[in-house]
């Protein structure tokens, strides 16, 4: 059983390293943030599997903290452009313009 958990953790670690390609390539910042979010979930799973492999129950707490705080980076990400919304347009109106007017970059 230990070997199985460890193998599963190793597999998940490999998926993280593969997913790094998306962070490196982008192209948009949304893609990068999404990849980081996926890594967070994968990390939680690895920690849970390791807690059984290494017989350290405290790792479940570590996983709990990761799960709890995974959202903070995403919320900080959406606060980028914390500037007031340009010209106060409703959020969905500006879809369809492929490129933003360069105003708030």
């Amino acid at each position: 059983m230990t070997v199985f958990y460890l193998g599963a953790a190793l597999f998940l670690l490999a998926t993280i390293l593969l997913g790094l390609i998306r962070v490196l390539r982008g192209p948009g910042s949304g893609d990068r943030m999404l990849a980081a979010q996926l890594f967070g979930t994968t990390g939680v799973t690895i920690l849970l599997l390791l807690s059984l492999t290494l017989e350290t129950p405290a790792l479940v707490d570590v996983a709990l903290v990761f799960a709890l705080l995974a959202v903070v980076a995403a919320v900080a990400f959406v606060r980028q452009h914390g500037l007031p919304e340009p010209s106060g347009t409703p959020i969905h109106q500006r879809h369809g313009q492929k490129k933003e007017p360069d105003d708030d970059r």
Binding site: T2, V3, L6, G7, A9, L10, L13, A14, I16, L17, L20, V23, L24, G26, S29, R32, M33, A35, A36, F39, G40, G43, I46, L47, L50, T53, L54, T56, A58, L59, D61, V62, L64, V65, F66, L68, L69, A70, V71, V72, A73, V75, A76, F77, V78, R79, Q80, H81, G82, L83, P84, I91, D104, R105
Partner: protein
Amino acid sequence: MSDLLLVVFDLVLLVGLLGVAWRCLASTDLFRAVVLFITFGLLLALAWVRLEAPDIALAEAAIGAGITGALLLVTLERLRSIAVERRRGRPDEPPDPAGADALLHALHDPPPPRRTFVPALTFALVVGGLMVTALWHQPDAVGLEPVVDEHMGVSGVDHPITAVLLNFRAYDTFLELAIVLIALLGAWSLGRYDRLPARPAPGPILPGTLRLLVPVAIVTGVYILWAGSHAPGGAFQAGAILGAAGILLVLARPRDLPMAPSTPLRLGLAAGVGLFLAIGIIGLFIGPGLLGYPPEWAYPLIIVIEVAATLSIALTLVALFIAGRPAGDDH
């Protein structure tokens, strides 16, 4: 079989860590560097787990996932807004001539000039090589584990790391709390800038998540603080979790909250250092020395100090995140 897999796991993890650090420092796009740094923190927590340090992994989880990432992302936002403001110029002044350039540089760093390549590489190789040789020739030692183990009986707690932090080497922890406070004073001395404006939540999901997460974060923080006396956990980790919850609130608040009243805020920020010092001085007169406790009083005193330190660390982290003096206190 299991040993072999562990070795493979270690190697893959370390290769990943080094690769992420390398790509992070080689990025021209700062946002990419920050996301890679967040990933670096995650992998680092796994490395601490492999080094049998769940306490450190817990702290890294709270700080790496919750605080550093948000701090860096918000710093990028501040830099961008500064650049945008400069480019727009003020209505009563001509626009900044360096404006467009400044915007380009705000979130991008051009590749470094080639002439620094050889000296930097040589310097880093020499330093790294010296460290590696020194490490390989260092003899194995048991360290201080037996000494700590021997004295666990008088420490007042059951978890060796908490015993070291709050009893055997209490002065380290005391000075560390002081440094955290000094960092905050330094940030405050820079003025009252860059308050993040409150924004209405984009849709119903964020407020709902907040309503779930913030109470759970508070309960988890208290749980981690309580667990510290007998298992991995303690004041730093709890403080970091509560601080991250506070940062989440600052980031996601839909409207401006009333400013924290000045005096209680300052009392809370200084509570950890102050209480620690007070108890330490009392120990000088009735106990075994400065920052020492009589063994029978050790447990309650440690708990009191830990609660105060948790509060102070959490408040300080949030205040460092906001990075400006509270408004209206210097008029």
